[in-house]
Symmetry: C2
Subunit: 221 residues, 2 copies
DNA sequence: ACCGTATGTGACCGATTAGTCACATGACTG
DNA sequence: CAGTCATGTGACTAATCGGTCACATACGGT
């Protein structure tokens, strides 16, 4: 809950502030993240930050909330597959969501992931809700897949939801490190070239693993 | 590379120091971990730490190294399955390794995992070697499974190794949170009761997922 | 031109950090 | 007992932290 002052800021200033703050909090602990460093980077006075936010905790929780909303907006922007195409496609869509968001918004992804599964402080309701809502989407897809009879009903729903969430997130990290040959290109907006061609072929391997596991397949898709 | 002084310490003192230091580094950033807090907890002078270790970095890298060696020792202590039982059992063994180590040595597991995949500093050779050696075991099992024809040869070896490592690690976390009803009991050494009975049945679900994926199974094991 | 309000500022505070060092203590030797 | 060496100590330094506040600046209305 930032002050009105924060929202009165020019969009340029607000964007710059958000970007710098997210960068600061994404890569490190809550404790290690430094307000002093943020204001030094931005070239503004420290007092300004405390006119926007109550304290460090207030800023942090706002950033988490912001990142979560951005993620929801991002997911909404990618059309879900046609239900008639089966739950293999739904699973593909889930994976694609995670990977694309991780590649296109790496800082936001780090922030969310770290808040949910890292050593985040504040056993806040908000964080719990973030965690729950993030997992709910995955859980729903799996549950429906089971109901329709395309997903094995013997799986443990809770556990599989958890693992699938971890996989989608970490697979993004894997790709990022794998493509680390020139990570600049990706961040610079050159991802369009990669997206629709090679990216899909890369994560189709991950999808196959999620769908069929390690075992030697008998049927193909 | 601690000084000789550190190894001259009585076992009781050395153990106490290790335990406290690991506890301090396991839950937080490298930057957030505090030497001052360690010495305060132990009730020793700060100067002592700097007679054992060159600096904070030296201590941290030693702890990582120690944790890694403990893990290797732990893994060596659990017998591998009979090769004739197939690679399903090998995969089971891999999972069991990760889960048991995570449950019996949660702090060490956190330390290792955070060093390998967290926001650890020091792009050290040592960390890279730790990462490589940890993944190598998994990679070997998969590669052999492919060679023997029990694991699908179309999987991406690198990616699957990475994901399997993540899964074994995070599954430990999942179990830990799932069993959080009384985590004290586990740490208190009461795990023997859980181990051979319910534990195996719980992670057999994870094993099924890893082996067969989400898809509805046709054949059973 | 004047005033009131909103926004920006950075010196300053108390707390905490990693790391140092002159000194105390203990143990063993001659 | 005296001397030597390893070990333990905690006050101290310089840097950094989150947070405060008295003050400066900018802007809009009359």
């Amino acid at each position: 809950m930032p002050s009105q002052t924060f929202f009165n800021l020019s969009e340029a200033k607000r964007k710059a502030f958000l970007e710098t703050a997210i960068e600061e909090f994404a890569g490190r602990d809550y404790e290690s993240a430094s307000i002093s460093r943020i204001v030094a980077t931005l070239g503004i006075a420290k007092g300004s930050v405390y006119q926007y936010f109550e304290d460090k905790r207030d800023l942090y929780l706002f950033l988490i909330d912001y990142a979560a909303k951005e993620r929801v907006a991002f997911v909404s922007g990618v059309p879900m597959p046609d239900p008639q195409q089966g739950f293999y496609r739904y699973t593909q869509w889930l994976l694609e969501m995670g990977v694309r968001f991780a590649l296109e918004h790496p800082r936001l992804n780090q922030l969310i992931y770290q808040a949910m599964f890292g050593t985040a402080p504040f056993r806040d309701d908000m964080l719990q809700r973030l965690r729950d809502s993030s997992l709910q989407l995955i859980r729903d897809v799996i549950a429906q897949g089971i109901a329709v009879g395309e997903i094995d009903p013997d799986i443990d729903l809770d556990m599989t939801t958890y693992l699938l969430n971890v996989i989608t997130n970490e697979f993004g990290n894997y790709l990022a490190s794998k493509l680390a040959i020139d990570p600049q290109r990706l961040l610079a907006g050159d991802q369009a070239q990669l997206d629709n061609d090679s990216l899909r072929s890369v994560y189709s391997k991950a999808l196959d693993f999620v769908w069929h596991g390690l075992a030697k397949r008998s049927t193909a898709h």
